[in-house]
């Protein structure tokens, strides 16, 4: 029963979501909207699950004095501080000028910006080492990368030509490749969904 019941729920829900799309009756719409609300509620509970999982992983790392356990202490302190400040004044805590928002703007924002900015340095270093004209394919990659990068730079009289080339690369070969990927992803997702609905794919239930 522990396995059959989830499979039955998934089967009924999955089949309903497929057939409701083709039946524009208000009773189906009502159930569909109800299901949507459920998904949003589950999404909110998933956040709680994430919090629990993060806390548990960090606490066990600290207890075991695993390498880098100090970072886990910082994670827990940060988590507890933001949670406390967030709940302490409710909606008022997210008004500008509160301590909660100061922590957001002066700690969280610079950390995120720094993490993202590091990409510029690593990309530059990686581009210097890897964009070498070793083979025909590498040459195509290099020339394409240069055209796409140079479209961001005003190049005087050749800007127009470069813009046209960059636009052609983005709207023709790039789009063809992306469409192929999306179609592949779509077919793969449909196949996986069918396997889940019919109980062939059961990895979502975890291990016994």
């Amino acid at each position: 029963m522990r396995r059959q019941l989830p499979i039955l729920i998934v089967f009924v829900s999955g089949v309903f979501m497929v057939i409701q799309y083709f039946i524009p009756h208000e009773s189906f719409e009502f159930i569909y909207e109800y299901a949507m609300d459920w998904i949003i509620i589950i999404g909110i509970f998933a956040m709680l699950l994430g919090l629990w999982s993060l806390t548990r992983a960090s606490v066990s790392k600290v207890q075991a004095k695993a390498p880098g356990w100090g970072f886990s202490v910082m994670t827990l302190v940060g988590l507890a501080t933001m949670l406390f400040l967030g709940f302490y004044k409710g909606n008022k805590s997210i008004a500008e000028g509160t301590f909660f928002m100061d922590l957001f703007w002066y700690i969280y924002t610079p950390i995120q910006a720094t993490m993202f900015s590091l990409l510029a340095f690593y990309i530059a270093s990686a581009a210097y080492r890897s964009f070498r004209v070793r083979t025909v394919l590498a040459t195509i990659l290099l020339v394409t990368a240069l055209i796409i990068m140079l479209r961001l730079i005003p190049l005087g009289p050749i800007s127009g030509v470069n813009q046209w080339l960059a636009s052609w690369i983005l709207t023709v070969p790039n789009m063809a490749a992306k469409r192929a990927i999306w179609i592949g992803v779509g077919l793969g997702a449909t196949a996986t969904a069918l396997k889940i609905i019919f109980g062939i794919e059961r990895a979502y239930m975890g291990k016994d």
């Binding site: 719409e29 909207e33 949507m36 609300d37 998904i39 949003i40 999404g43 909110i44 998933a46 956040m47 409710g90 909606n91 997210i94 008004a95 500008e96 928002m101 957001f104 969280y108 924002t109 995120q112 910006a113 993490m115 993202f116 510029a120 340095f121 990309i123 530059a124 270093s125 581009a127 210097y128 080492r129 964009f131 070498r132 004209v133 290099l142 990368a145 240069l146 990068m149 140079l150 479209r151 961001l152 730079i153 005003p154 800007s159 127009g160 813009q163 636009s167 983005l170 709207t171 790039n174 789009m175 992306k178 469409r179 999306w182």
Partner: protein, 280 residues
Amino acid sequence: MNFLEKLLALDRRIIFLFIAIAVALPLFFTVKLHIEVTPVVRNLHNALEALPPGSKVLVSLDYDPGSMPELQPMAESFFRYCFMRDLKIIIIGLWPNGPIQANSALEVILNEPDIKKKNPKYGIDYVNLGYTAGNEVVIERMGSDIPVTFPKDYSGSKTEDLPLMKGVKNFNNIDFVYNLSAGYPGTVEWVLFGVDPYKIKLGAGNTAVQAPQIYPYLNSGQLVGLLGGMKGGAEFEIATGHPAKAVKFMFSQSVSHALICFFILIGNFAYFATRKKKGA
């Protein structure tokens, strides 16, 4: 080890130093670059120009501070444009930090002299409905009932009590949707769950990394226009006749890109020169 071999084995810290200088130094100078408005940006601008004053525009800010340099100027220029044209703004976020980013952009724009003269009022000219968990399901649910999906605004007021939200039930009451996206959920989800089932008019601004992924939706007509990275943001500012942050930052971005191209070229030069030498 001769000079060319040293060049090939260049310490990455030297590259880092050059990049840091190339990014930071131009920020201290104001250089007017010639920025041409590309068709994808022009199309977005034209679609917005076609909206009559009083039209309701839903803005979904789906990014966090990591993508601020690219997307925040887009948010600011879009809000400025809406206020100048008397378009009504309804803000939401599929990312938890989105509505905070919106407030930050609004704070900048509402303090500009031109906008101050217009004196836009919260609840009448713009609202911030905050964040709701659920990713693409939120879009799907908004298609049938926006006040149910966002029962309260960012500051905790009832959505139904906000004058701007009177008569706004679902996407049928929204004239245009503008999405600023740095990943999932973002523009792709707005196309799949908003444009296709509910036929909303969608324009988007994306990070430069994400933009090529969005191009298929432009030619198919599912997306009316796209701002790709800071360049797209700068083009939009030019199109709206109000050059601002994105245009200013373009100089820094151009110099750093030119430097990367230069490094790639000298790297290849050194590679070929040393290979020829070894061959001989």
